[in-house]
C-alpha cells in the first residue's frame, strides 16, 4: 500500500430538505483512500454511509437533496465541481459501484451481455465483438461457470449470489481505480457471502483496485478492510487502521458497537453489552455530540458542542470530548 491518496474526501456535507425539516444526512465527512487499499465505512441506519457513497459520485437526487459543501478530490480534480459530462466518463470507468440488492440493480429486461457490453463500449471504445469477449473474460474471472453461454441469459435466470458476481464482473470490466461497494453481501446467505467477499478480495488485489466497502457488519469489516471509518449521525466518529480500531477503540460508540456484537468464538454468559437508546433522528439535529444520550461517559460539554478530532498516531483519530484537553 503506497502513500498516494487517490481519493480525498474533505468535509463533505449533504443535506436533504424534507417536510419535517433539514436532514443533515452527511455533516462533515473526511477521509482518504489510498491505491490498492480497502476502506470500510461502518454505520447503522441513519449514519449517512450510503448517502456519503452517493455523494462521492454526485448521484444525490436534487431535489430534495443537495451537496452543500466539501470537496471530493479524485487525483487533482474535485468531483463535485465537475460538469455532468465529465463525471459520466468517470462513472463506471474509473470509479465503479455495486449495490446491495442484486435483484434490482440489474435491468430485468436486458440480457447480461447487453448490460455488460454497454459499459465496455462506452468507456473503452471497443467494437461489439471485442467487448463481448472482454465481458466473457470478466465473467469467467468472477467465477461464473460456462460464461460464453450464460452471458446471453437474463438476470432472473441467475441466483442472488450469481447476480452479485455478475455485478462485480461488470463493475471491474473497465479496470477502475476505485470500486465502491454498498452493502454488497447483506442480502446474501452466509456461505455465499463468504464466496463473494473472497472473490472481491482476490480480484481487487489482482487488478490493484482500491475499494470502499460500506457495511453494517463488523465481522465483514474485520475480515476484508485495511482501514475503517465509523460513522454516526452523518459524521465520522473514528477512523484508522482496522486492527488499531478493534484492538483499541477510542470512541464510546465504536467501543459499544464492538462489545455488543455477539461472537462465535467466545461463549458469552449473562447479558450482552448493549448501547442503550435509539439511533438518532437526524432531522434538525442541534449543536452537540449526537451520541451523548446513549453515552455512558457523557459530560456537560457533550451537550453543547460537537467534539474536536483528536489524533492518536498512525492515522487513528476519533472525535470525542474525552480526549480533548480543551473543554
Amino acid at each position: 500500500m503506497t502513500d498516494e491518496a487517490i481519493l480525498r474526501v474533505k468535509d463533505l456535507r449533504t443535506y436533504f430538505n424534507t417536510d419535517e425539516g433539514v436532514v443533515k444526512a452527511v455533516d462533515g465527512v473526511s477521509f482518504e483512500l489510498h491505491k490498492g487499499e480497502t476502506l470500510g465505512i461502518v454505520g447503522e441506519s441513519g449514519s449517512g454511509k450510503s448517502v456519503t457513497n452517493l455523494s462521492i459520485m454526485n448521484m444525490i437526487p436534487n431535489p430534495p437533496g443537495k451537496i452543500v459543501g466539501g470537496e471530493v478530490l479524485f487525483g487533482e480534480r474535485d468531483l463535485l465541481k465537475m460538469p455532468l459530462r465529465e463525471i459520466r466518463e468517470i462513472r463506471g470507468n474509473k470509479i465503479s459501484m455495486i449495490f446491495q440488492d442484486p435483484m434490482t440493480s440489474l435491468n430485468p429486461f436486458l440480457r447480461i451481455s447487453t448490460q455488460m457490453m454497454e459499459t465496455i463500449i462506452l468507456h473503452q471504445g471497443l467494437d461489439k465483438k471485442a467487448a463481448k469477449a472482454k465481458a466473457i473474460e470478466m465473467l469467467a474471472l468472477a467465477g461464473i461457470p460456462a460464461p460464453q453461454k450464460r452471458i446471453d441469459c437474463y438476470p432472473h435466470q441467475f441466483s442472488g449470489g450469481m447476480r452479485q458476481r455478475v455485478m462485480i464482473a461488470m463493475s471491474l470490466s473497465c479496470n477502475p481505480e476505485i470500486l465502491i461497494a454498498d452493502e454488497p453481501t447483506s442480502a446474501l446467505d452466509v456461505t455465499i457471502q463468504a464466496q463473494i467477499l473472497d472473490l472481491m478480495k482476490d480480484l481487487t488485489a489482482r487488478l490493484g483496485t482500491a475499494v470502499i466497502l460500506i457495511t453494517h457488519s463488523l465481522g465483514v469489516v474485520a475480515g476484508t478492510c485495511d482501514t475503517l471509518c465509523v460513522m454516526y449521525a452523518g459524521r465520522v466518529v473514528e477512523r484508522g487502521d482496522t486492527e488499531d480500531i478493534f484492538a483499541s477503540p477510542k470512541h464510546p460508540y465504536t467501543r459499544g458497537l464492538i462489545k455488543s456484537v455477539p461472537r462465535l468464538d467466545i461463549a458469552s454468559e449473562g447479558r450482552l453489552s448493549s448501547i442503550r437508546g435509539q439511533p438518532p433522528n437526524v432531522i434538525d439535529l442541534p449543536e452537540c455530540c449526537p451520541f451523548y444520550p446513549r453515552c455512558d461517559q457523557a459530560m456537560d460539554v457533550c451537550k453543547k458542542k460537537y467534539p474536536e478530532r483528536r489524533d492518536f498516531g498512525n492515522d487513528h483519530s476519533a472525535a470525542c470530548w474525552l480526549y480533548s484537553e480543551a473543554k
Partner: protein, 359 residues
Amino acid sequence: MKFPKVRSLRIGGKADAELNEFAQSMKPVSLWADAWRRLRKNKMALAGLFIVAFYVAAVLLAPILPIYHYEDQVISHANLPPSLRPAGEVMLETRVAYMRKMMKAESRTSFNAKEEADIEAMKADIKVNPDHKRVYVMGTDNLGRDLLSRTIYGGRISIMIGLVGTITATLVGILLGSIAGYTGGKIDNFIMRFVDILYGLPYMLVVIIMMAIFGKNVINLFVAIALVSWLTLARVVRGQVMSLKNAEFIEAARSMGASPARIVFRHLTPNTLGVIVVFATLLVPDFIMSESFLSFLGLGVSAPLASWGSLVSEGTATMELYPWQLLVPAISMTLFLFAMNFLGDGLRDALDPQSKNRA
C-alpha cells in the same frame, strides 16, 4: 406462568422514555393526520375541497337561504336574463327590446298605439306589484322560475344521488371485494365472474329499460345506477385485500386466533381505506353524470323537481335565445365535477402509502 409485580426496570423504562424524547418527534401523528397535512399543500386539491364544501353547504342550507322557492312561477317574468336589477325593470327592458325588434321587422320607426298602451300598463304594474321587485341573479326559465334556486335545488337532487349512490356502491363493493379477495378459491371465482358478466352489460340500455318498466322516479333512478356502480370498487378492494393478506401483521392476527371476519374488517379494510376513499370521490361525479344523462334523455326526475341534468335538458332547447338557461346549470355542474376530480386526485397523492411509513 405468573405475572409478578413490576420490579425495578432494568430494561429501560424511564431512561428509555427520555431517550425517546430526544430521538423521536413528539406529537402523535396518525396516518390520517399525515395525509391531511399533505393534502393541504396541494393547492388544486384544496381548491377542490373548498368548492365541494361550498356546494354541499349551499344545497344543505337551501331551505333557509334567502332565495325564491323553486316552484314559484311568475309568468310575466318568463325568460328574463340574469341581472342585479329588480325584475320589473328587466322585464320592461326585454319587452321593449322585443317590440323594437318587431318594429324593425315591420319597417316601422315608432311604436303604435297598442304597444304604447302595453308599455304604460307594464310601468304602472311595476309600481304596484311587489313581485316586480324581485332580483333574479341567474335569470329565469320559461315559466318564470328563478334559475338560481332551481339550480341549487337541482344540485340538491344531483349531489344526493351522487353521495348516496357512492356510499351504497362503496359498501357493496367493500363487502364483496373483501370476501372475494380474502377467501380466494371458488367463492372468489364466482364473485369475480359475476362482476365480469355485469361489466359486459350495456349499462345505459339496462338502466333505460329498468326505468321504462319500473317507472320514473328518483328511487328507481338511484337503484338502477347503483346496481352496476359497485363493480370497479369491488375489483379494486379485492386487489388490495389480496396484496395485503399475506402481510406479516395479518399472519400475526391469524396466529392469535382471529376469525376471518375480524381479520377482514378490523385489519384489512382500514388499510385499504386510502384507496377506497380515492375511488369513492371519483365515483360521485360518475353518478352525477349518469343521472344527468338520464335526465337529459327525459328518464330522470320529473317536473316540478329539478336536477342538473333536467335543467340542462330544458336549457338546450332554448339555448340560442336564452343561453343562460343552459349555461347556469351546466357551469354549476361542471365546476362541481372538476372540484371532485381535483379532490380525488389530491387524495390519492396524500394517501399514498409509499411515503413516510419507514422511520
